[in-house]
Every structure is written in structure tokens, then in C-alpha cells.
Symmetry: C2
Subunit: 347 residues, 2 copies
Amino acid sequence: MAEETVSLALTLKDIAREAGVSLATVDRVLHNRPGVRPDTVRRVQETIARNAFQPHVAAAELARGRARRFAFVMPSGPNPFMQQIEAYLGEMSAWLAARRLSVEMVTTDVFDPSVLAASLETLSGDYDGVAVVALDHPGVRAAINDLVEAGTKVVTLVSDVPSSRRHHYVGIDNIAAGRTAGALVGRLIGQKSGKVAIVAGSQGLRDHAERIFGFNQVMASEFPDLNVLPVLEGRDEDDRSEQLLSRLLGRHADIVGLYNVGAGTQGVASALSGAGREKQVVFVGHDVTALTRRLLLQGVMDAAISQNPGHEARAAVRVLLALARGEPILSEQEKIRIDIVMRDNLP
Amino acid sequence: MAEETVSLALTLKDIAREAGVSLATVDRVLHNRPGVRPDTVRRVQETIARNAFQPHVAAAELARGRARRFAFVMPSGPNPFMQQIEAYLGEMSAWLAARRLSVEMVTTDVFDPSVLAASLETLSGDYDGVAVVALDHPGVRAAINDLVEAGTKVVTLVSDVPSSRRHHYVGIDNIAAGRTAGALVGRLIGQKSGKVAIVAGSQGLRDHAERIFGFNQVMASEFPDLNVLPVLEGRDEDDRSEQLLSRLLGRHADIVGLYNVGAGTQGVASALSGAGREKQVVFVGHDVTALTRRLLLQGVMDAAISQNPGHEARAAVRVLLALARGEPILSEQEKIRIDIVMRDNLP
DNA sequence: CTGTTAGCGCCTTCAT
DNA sequence: ATGAAGGCGCTAACAG
């Protein structure tokens, strides 16, 4: 009735004794440090394996006794999603302090590649790890590579630079997110045919471009009766998004679906209600914020594609920490899922 | 441009010096242990607060040096979702071992209250914490309360016993899950009217009953054109579920929606395909397993309501550990979300 | 190449 | 009511 998984509570010393060597030698083998004869290595490794020995992490941390400094490079604007990530990092402060970790926020204009690159350059050498909401641009890529070169662990957050040498990306698969949005818009529209509008921040942003790509993919292949209109670029600004969309709604009476790829959600919603069409149009956007929560409850928005900002903040810290310590990353745990949030499963 | 959050790396000793007392006294105050004069307590607390002092967890763990034993009481049947939780617990073994924690699986017939209660009784005294997939029944409730009485930390997993004195519930809000399923079925059906079938394991299971309740709630209030048929009780068995549903499909040609509340998914799917109606009926079920993944990809299932089993396993362990150590629980992190999974956001 | 040793910061007797 | 001191398991410097 009971399978087991026991903790033998072996220690380095036990292994040392059993292998007939000293503590220090076991430690060297454990961290594959040089200066041990090959067959001693083998002998020690065998005893370690035979006993399924696991060093006590707490003891190691204590002995190592090194404080780690991480920097988070975030957009300076009033993006609610980014603010949520920052808030969750703040909530972690006790957790961080108890582990002698520090996280510093660096806000910068991540939309200007040279400014972002410059910000990254200033960090070099001062931090064990850097998490950055990155724009995919050659200058930024170079800055990331320089950091990596200098021994800093780098994680891209929310928006990736796949061609760089960053160690890890913490964020969702944006093409899949776009596909998900497309499937939702299409299926929620039902049998009706008509036009579908897309509002994005900019097609120059990698994540936006990828989402649009995924969205169009699904639309083209599965909803031939729906006609996708050219993308409106609202620069994630409320006013501009509202104007553009209002004009579009005015020109097309048969818009039945709407995909808001980025921020500027307030503007998009205003345009819809302004036209009195919030009930006729299936509206899917991104992220659960105070605003999108309200819109979902009101039935103005039908679904939000979301990535859990708390999870994202914690995952970024954990990954940086694991990288800094040379520990393995628990990829299943750190993977960020694409959440579909509707009125009834609002978190 | 840079706000900060520094780690001053204070230690107990620093606090002791600044407060003019010894290490031991600070320690006593820190853990509000008796034997310290009230105003000494205050003085020490003030210095702690003033310096925002956080004891180093690694050092504490090491000094405390106590191994913890946890037991997970799980259903003995071949429920794929439960097997996933067990698998994730297995994957954590290195993590657990490195912290001198042990997790033992105890499988039992959780559907028989007396058997489950007996299983729980045998655990008393041997474990620091117990996670249990619980049936809500007076006998089980009493067994849980006995464990708690004996000082064991108890967490209910997946299925709750709210009226017991369990310390925590790790799982989803099943009423909300049912509502979500209802909203999905209704909205994906679109404007059509017709009948909706429900297949559950048993209405005696609290989680199933709650899901059905939520589902009906939404159906009644928002989809008056859909007519919900009486619940079929398939006991989570494939054969029985298939038979019952096949017969129902035979009797009603106008079934347009189907909600599978529990397991037995294979049987439900077979009944649908057997009738050649897998494309006409909107089919929503629970959990992402190898089977439901396939059904989603094939378009037989339209959506799965899911709770992340990996997250659930880790959260249960973390909560038990925090309870055992007397640490606070990070409720935001440990909350289990209701995930909507469709073909394009399969994890 | 290998071993010895002094801590890391906190907890826990044991004295006082 | 308070303090002193040893030790938890590992790391890192220093000897050899």
C-alpha cells in the first residue's frame, strides 16, 4: 500500500569515508573541479551514484555565502501588464531577502533599440543576472551578447531575441497565442460571416508580429467565411487605437470580430462602445488587468489571452538563480502557459 | 533610472549587538519563544524591524537539520490525472532529497469513506504532513480532524472537505469550473438551439456535484435555448459512460452540446464517434491527458477545463512544507487556476 | 593530486 | 531571564 522515497540523510563525509578519500576530494568531484586523478574521480562518482547522494542545498548555500544581484530591465511606460510583473517582484522581497538575493528594477525605453542597448551596456559587470523585456534588433542583440560574454546570465522576458545568446526565454509562444486568439474569435463568432479587425501596437514588435501571424494562419485555414482586414497600428496608445478603430468601424458595418494584439485596450473598447457595437462584435485581447477584467465581466470582451505575470516574475528570478548557481532548470515548472481567460475563470 | 532593493546582509549577530543582547535572545524573540522580558522583546523587535532583518533561510534550515516526512493519499484506480500528479511528485525527487524531505505515496480507495478514513488513521503520528484527495463524508472529515489534532499538517488535494479542519485546499473552485464549462459549451454552440447532455462520475462526489451546479447555473441564466438533459452517472468508467451516452444519443437527435464532468472520457468519446456525431456536438471535458490531448487535436473535443497537475503537486508540497515550518503561505503562488485548453494552447 | 581546517548564519542545549 | 558554545553539511583557502 505504500511505495517509498526515503531520505537516507547521507552527507559528504559519509561519501568520503566510503570512497576512502577526504571531504575536499568529494567536493571537487561533485563540482567537477580539476585536480583529481581520473580513477579517483570514478571511484567517488560511483559511491555518489550508488548511494543516490544529494548534497544538502541549504548547507551549500550557506557555505557559499554569496549574495546575488539581479537586474530587471523593464519598459518605462505605463503598461499595466509590466506593472503587474513589477508588483509581483516587489511582493517577493521577503523571499529574496531571506536568500540574500537582490533584484533591482531598471526602467528604460525598450522600444528604442539604441536606448535599450545602452541601458544594457551600463549593467555589465555589476550583476550576476539580467532579465530584460527585449526588442528584437541587432543593437540589442549585440548588447545581450556582450553581457553574456562578460559572464552575466541573461534571460529575455515576455519578448524574446531568439538570435541572441541569451540563456533562457521566459514567456509564451506568441505564434501559438495568436492562433489561440484566432480560434477563439472564429469559434465564438459561430456561423456568421463578416469581417475581422486587428489592432496591434506595431508590426515591428516581434511578439505582436508573431501573434498576428498565428492569428492569420488560423483564420485563413479554418474560417474562410471571415475576412481579415489590414492591421491597424495603434502603438499601444489608447487615443490612437480608438481613432483608427472608430474610423474602421464606420467604414465596415459587417465587422463581427476584433483582435487586440497589444495594449491600448481602453481605446479599443471605447471605439467599440462608441459605435454601439460592443455586443455584436466578438472581442479578444491580451492579458488580465483591472481594465480587461472589467470588460470581461461586462461582456464587452469575450476572452483574454494571458500569461500569468506572477508566474512570469517568479520564473525569471528562479531561472536566473539556477543559471547563476549552475543548477539545472526545471523546464516544466518554468514554462509559461497561454491562458485563456473568460468571465467565469477570471483568476 | 534605477530604484533599489538591497540586501544589507545583516545577521543575527548584528541585531544582537545593536539591541545589546545575546544571539540566543534574538533567536527567542524571532520565534516568539517564551523566557524573555517584555521590554527586551520590544527592544529586539524594534531593531529587527528597523533593519528590516530577514534571517537567512539556508542557515536556519541547516541548523534545524530536521528531515520532514509527507504522505500523499491518492486514489488507487487508473485515473490519468492522478497518475500525472504522482509522476510530477516523482520528478521532484531530487529537489526533495536536496532538502531532506521525503514524500511517500499511499494509494487507497478514496471512494469508500471508511477505507479512506482507515487509511488516514494509520498515518497518524508518522508524518509531518499529509496531502489527501478527499471524499467529503463525515467519517473522512473525522479522520482529517484527528490528524490535525495530532499535530499533522493536512492539505486536501483536488477535492476538498471544507467542513473539516484541514489547513489548506490545493485545487480549483469547482463551481467556477462548471460555470466555465457551461459558458464554453453555450458560446461554442452559437445560435443553434437543442439539447445538452451531462456525463458525470457520480453526483455524490463533491467536485462533480459542484461542477454540475455551476454548469447548470450558466445554462439556465444565459442559454435559455439550450435544454439540459438529466445527468448520466458513468462512475468514471469508460464502458458504462459509453453505454449510457450511446443510448441517450439514440433517443435525442438534437443534442448539440456535451459536458463530461469527470473521467471516463474514452467511453464518452467512443459513444460520440459511434453515433457519427463527433463533429456536430460541442464537447467539453476536464483535464489534459494523453487522451484528451488527442481528442482536442482531432477536433472531437472542443475544450478541456484543466488544473495544472504539475503545479498542483508542487503547490501541495510547498504548502505542507510552509505549514510544517510555520512559514506564511504565498497564496497567490499556490492558487490553482482554472485553465481553458483548446487545440492551439495545448501545453 | 589530496587532505586539513576554519568558517557560513542560525538553532539548541546547557549554564548562569 | 539571559548568555556561551558547539554543531548542522558544505565550501574554500591553505598546506602538504
